[in-house]
Amino acid sequence: MRILEGDPVAERQMYDAQVDRIYRLAYRMTGDDDLAQEFTQETFIRAFEKLKQFRGEAALSTWLHSIATSVIYNGMRKVTKLQKRHVDLQETTATSSGPDAVEPDLRERLAAAIDDLPHGYKTVFVMHDIEGYKHEEIAAALGVRAGTSKAQLSRARAKLREALGDFAEEWAS
């Protein structure tokens, strides 16, 4: 592969082929354009530096995503001022008036609930349910088994359902 020999054209081609998915994932995880750009850049810089160590056991994109998830994870730990959504639960409950009216509030509450998920759950939920990654891709990126990815997704969804319990009750009534 030309890219393993440090061919700049091949590097740019790899970047063009992968950057959208990496940036989208970083943005979904952070909700911040500056952070998403920073994490995306760092992912590619590390990847280009480590290309000689790429053993070809996994697809290049899988390997790149394993770097990206690590960069995002470590980067987010360092960030102290992540934008957090604080929704006044009393207010949203009071202003909800039925299934047809809940959607704007539901989006806000859901976003806050996703923000509050443990990092592992959030990563799997964002990758699978929002960005459409397969469990096998997620497992390879996170260094776990596909079964673990499925279990974490199930727990993440359960936590979200629990956080939005009052909305679910309104739908049921």
């Binding site: 970047y15 950057v19 940036y23 850049q41 160590q53 859901l110 939920f125 260094g143 088994r145 679910a168």
Partner: protein, 216 residues
């Protein structure tokens, strides 16, 4: 039935979570290019500036710094220490090795021994309770691992790969120390198993050096 419908609505709403704008691909590529050039220039400068003797000095300084740093990791029950012995796994003091190489081999051996001891303790009892000293040990080991990753010791590909896997697991353990959740614990233990981290550490540590790291 209604639950399923609500799940559908929830999934639909989730698609709007942190909706990304268009990827600023050219802007990011320009920055990546600039950062890589800057780092490459810095590496060239370092190569020119550091003679073997300077590197030897830096090696010893790093040995001391890492030794002091990871010396904070204390494990009960093994107060008696012996000096670590470097051997072929990470490089027995070989003929022709520079002083810097020997210093880094020594530090690397000590570091891997500490990591192996720490991870074994962690596996034995992941819920080490409120022992803050134990958890601060994970942070110290992580810092030392990163120092080593940036050192000439990490130029050897197999060793570098081991350090990178160790770094990832230590990050997960530090995370676990904050959150203490089943998920985090699952990630740590599975990560260790999948990477065969403990067996690889044990293979990399020369025989006879495992207990010789506590008093560094």
């Amino acid at each position: 039935m209604m639950d399923d419908r609500f799940d559908d609505v929830m999934m639909e709403a989730a698609q709007e979570y942190n909706t990304p704008p268009e990827t600023p691909r050219d802007l990011m590529w320009a920055r990546i290019d600039a950062i890589r050039q800057e780092r490459a220039a810095r590496r060239r400068q370092l190569r020119v500036l550091y003679s073997p003797w300077t590197r030897w000095g830096i090696g010893l300084a790093a040995a001391l710094a890492i030794g002091v740093g990871i010396g904070r990791v204390s494990f009960e029950g093994s107060p008696e220490t012996q000096p670590p012995v470097a051997s072929t796994e990470l490089g027995t003091p070989t003929e022709g090795a520079t002083g810097a190489q020997l210093a880094f081999q020594l530090v690397a051996t000590q570091h891997l021994s500490r990591a192996e001891t720490f991870l074994t303790s962690f596996r034995t009892d992941p819920q080490t309770g409120e022992d803050e000293e134990f958890w601060s040990g994970a942070g110290d080991l992580l810092s030392s691992t990163r120092l080593l990753l940036d050192s000439p010791a990490a130029e050897e590909p197999v060793f570098r790969e081991l350090l990178e896997d160790l770094e990832l697991v230590l990050v997960q353990i530090v995370r676990f120390s904050y959150e203490r959740g089943d998920t985090e614990l699952e990630l740590v233990t599975e990560g260790m198993e999948r990477r065969s981290l403990l067996p690889r550490l044990r293979t990399a540590i020369p025989a006879g050096s495992a207990v010789g790291v506590e008093g560094a």
